[in-house]
């Protein structure tokens, strides 16, 4: 699309030749981005392509090294987010900027210059209710933020931007935290905002969403704009190719394998979260060999606690865990590892690796106690180095060598390093939490393939993920967790997104229309 197609007066945002560097990388390399008034414009790209950086520049959080920004045709220089807000640019970040102990109204007026001295919360409340009404955003103005679900909190962020007069609204991966139903609601809100003349910029790497909601798409790859296209003129496959730079296969080879013996049995697990509140309230399930069991759910519904409890990292208040028929309920983590349980932790940097140690030292984290890595109290580094070299090659970890520090690896390579370590012991059970979160398409593919390979080899895999597509694609059975309880279980080949979405929002399977039993 060339510029002449766009009428000058239509243009709400024009960013011209933006350059933003970070140590070692050019996040935005002469990026030109144009969004029209009243359109929903998707900014598509892999992690690290520079989408968030570009939008943080537009929102006044980063100062670009080069380039110009025009809002409604006027050249702007933003020194802070405040300048951007004054120019009508609002941003809803991936991680919300809300104060949990304050109410919705208080959060909305927080930081405003008006009123100068005396808070007039009634007036603010009325204004918020009017906005909510106008855009179809369901909100309770005097509720505290901590009482709200993630979806509701997102609405507060949108209201906050509208309250400040945002004409241009940037949303950074807004659907990552939503159930499918909440996503549908959000999209209808966004459409009504666009119809009223707002410009919506929608950052995403999910192709389905981009084609579903946007009018136009700007695709970024490695800091550069590779295409600007009309959404109706383009296929999902084409977008994927533009984003990744090569054709992408969407279907994973998932071989037919009959499930084997029961490996993991969890019975009535109860555990508390870090705040001492119940996080697991009677979770029971089994995982068999040759089987991937997916746990779907919105983040913060007990998934982290479940993963920790199974790995011996969180004490159970009640319930029993059996591994291959043996009771491991009270076993320490060390023993659980020895019994052949591998874990892909939620946070690669904090839990899964030691940034300032080298790859070899990271690779023996789980088996340093066992011969031939160590004999008696002494570690045989000679053996460790051979072991590390073999694993790096086998799992295709791209690094200068085994003495590279782990924190220099990219997200995808670090995840491969962790998988190399965890899978090297031929585990009986793998607990994988968000194994592809934040990875680019290539790394995601190889991680998923590795998990499927382990399934073929006979491992039992518990896949905990917020990415519903991933869960549906990889799993044999899907459990849906909500507030520490399993809402229901569906076989993956008969899984219905809508049904899973309702369970993710707290509906029990029994209460839903049981069309599959009817059909059967």
């Amino acid at each position: 699309m060339t510029e002449s197609n766009v009428q000058q007066s239509d243009i709400a945002v024009e960013m011209r030749d933006i350059v933003k560097r970070f140590p070692g990388v050019i996040a935005n390399d002469h990026v030109t981005f144009i969004a029209k008034r009243g359109e929903i414009h998707a900014l598509l790209g892999e992690n690290g392509a520079g989408k968030s950086t570009l939008m943080n520049v537009l929102a006044g959080l980063y100062a670009p090294e080069e380039g110009e920004i025009f809002i409604n045709g006027r050249k702007m220089t933003f020194h802070s987010p405040r300048d951007a807000i004054e120019a009508g640019v609002g941003m809803v970040h991936q991680h919300f900027r809300l104060v949990p102990t304050l109410t919705v109204v208080e959060n909305v007026v927080l930081g405003l210059d008006e009123p100068r001295f005396k808070l007039n919360l009634e007036e603010a409340t009325q204004k918020i209710e009017a906005l909510a009404e106008q855009y179809g955003l369901k909100i309770t103005p005097d509720a505290f933020i901590w009482q709200l679900s993630v979806g509701e909190q997102q609405r507060v962020e949108i209201i906050k931007a509208l309250y400040r007069g945002a004409q241009i609204l940037i949303l950074d991966e807004p659907t990552a935290v939503l159930t499918p139903q909440e996503t549908v609601e959000l999209f209808s809100t966004l459409r009504s905002m666009a119809a009223k003349g707002h410009t919506i910029i929608f950052i995403s790497h999910k192709l389905d969403e981009v084609t579903a909601i946007s009018d136009r798409v700007t695709v970024l790859r490695a800091g550069k704009v590779v295409a600007v296209v009309e959404a109706k003129d383009v296929t999902k496959e084409k977008l994927a190719e533009l984003m990744v730079g090569r054709p992408v296969i969407f279907r994973l080879e998932k071989p037919e394998v009959a499930p084997g013996q029961e490996v993991l049995r969890a019975e009535d697990l109860h555990a508390l979260n870090n705040k001492g509140l119940p996080a697991l309230k009677g979770v029971s399930f089994t995982v068999r060999a040759h089987e991937i069991v997916g746990v779907a759910g919105v983040s913060g519904n007990g998934q982290a606690e479940l993963s920790e409890a199974l790995y011996g990292l969180r004490p159970l208040q009640k319930g029993k865990i059996y591994l291959n028929g043996q009771n491991i309920t009270k076993a320490p983590t060390r023993e659980i590892i020895r019994q052949g349980v591998a874990q892909v932790p939620e946070d690669r940097h904090k839990e899964g690796s030691i940034g300032d140690m080298d790859l070899a030292e990271n690779l023996i984290l789980k088996n340093y106690r066992q011969p031939p890595i160590s004999r008696g109290p002494v570690i045989s580094w000679k053996y460790v180095f051979d072991f590390a070299k073999t694993l790096i090659r086998r799992f295709d970890v791209k690094a200068p060598g085994i003495h590279t520090r782990a924190r220099l690896l990219s997200g995808g390579n670090l995840q491969k390093l962790i998988l190399a370590r965890e899978l090297s012991s031929d585990p009986a059970l793998i607990i994988a939490m968000h194994p592809t979160q934040g990875l680019d398409v290539g790394a995601t593919e190889s991680v998923r393939e590795l998990l499927l390979q382990e399934r073929s080899k006979g491992a039992a895999i518990l896949l905990i993920s917020e990415d519903l597509d991933e869960v549906m694609q990889l799993s044999d059975r899907i459990l849906v967790i909500y507030e520490g309880e399993i809402m229901g279980e569906v076989p993956a080949d008969r899984a219905d997104r809508n049904e899973i979405g309702l369970m993710m929002a707290g509906a029990r399977q029994e209460t839903l229309n049981h069309h599959e039993t009817v059909a059967a």
Partner: protein, 370 residues
Amino acid sequence: MNQPSFSERLPRISFERRLTAPWWLAWVIPIASVTLALLTGALIIASQGVNPWEAYKAMFMGAFGSGFGMAETLVKAIPLMLAGLGVSIAFRMKLWNIGAEGQLWMGAWAAAGVGLYLYPAWHLPPWLAITLMMLAAMLAGGLWGAIPGLLKGVLQVNEIITSLMLNYVAISWVLYFVDILWRDPGGLGFPNTALLDRAIWLPKLTWIPFLPPGNRVHFGLIIAIVAAVILWFLLNRTKWGYEVRVIGENPEAARHAGMPIVRNIILVMIVSGALAGLAGMAEMSGVAHRLQRGLSPGYGYTAIIVAWLAKLNPFGVLLVAVLFGGLLVAGDQIQLTMNLPRSISDILQGLILFFVLGGEIFSRYRIRIR
């Protein structure tokens, strides 16, 4: 129209994290830091009406310029080495043991008890008595270190505060013995115990070349070197050392690997305290030959600086301890010859630490000015 505000007219200074540092940076930064510390020290010396260049020359010659000076430097370095090794292993696990001073005093006290009372009472052979003195010192120092370790591991009490406060308890405890219970009746009222029997003094290292006869360098030097080798081996070659390093670098990853964190916190504090206790034994049996007030002029605190400057490397600790031993000797030297207060050497210690800590930011961050 829009005047840029004051803050906008200032150059923007930003810190950017380095992913990799060039190899020479690891050398340039400490050298530049120490140079800056010495330059700042020069200002202070000049303010006392003394030519800083002359003062530094006198200090260097005093500490390293003669066989006698070198010997005294080593004597002062021995407790710094042992206590510095102790501090360094605790710091490896990010346990901020500030209690080496107290652990050192407790070690000296236990060793003195064995030497003054058990040795004559049980008619022990001298080698066995010295061994027992070492073990007693390690036990006492280790137990003194175990207290903050237990409090930290079991109850999550801040070890900086507990280990620091236990220093005062330890010193008061030992002085109670020095002044009252174990006071030398023939000591003409001086606050010290009787001398140890000459047979159980740590032997002098008369065989070291270049050192003048009659110097005070003792067997503690060998103990310190052996301790450094053992510590290096433990840290780098054993499962336990690997655990200590992983827990220090990333306790959450250690937890996910099933490492016994609480046990290691206590164990490392015991080892740390035991090494500091050994420093006390060496100073008592090798230099003072008795328990007395002022046995340690704060070796346990200087050891913290030593460990930090050595980047917690055991062999680095040996080297830095010699430099700081030299600084202590030089302080005495310039007091005599240049009429400067002895505290100049304390000031220099502080300045060096200050600048080296400050300089570390340049190894981790790149400073950009726009």
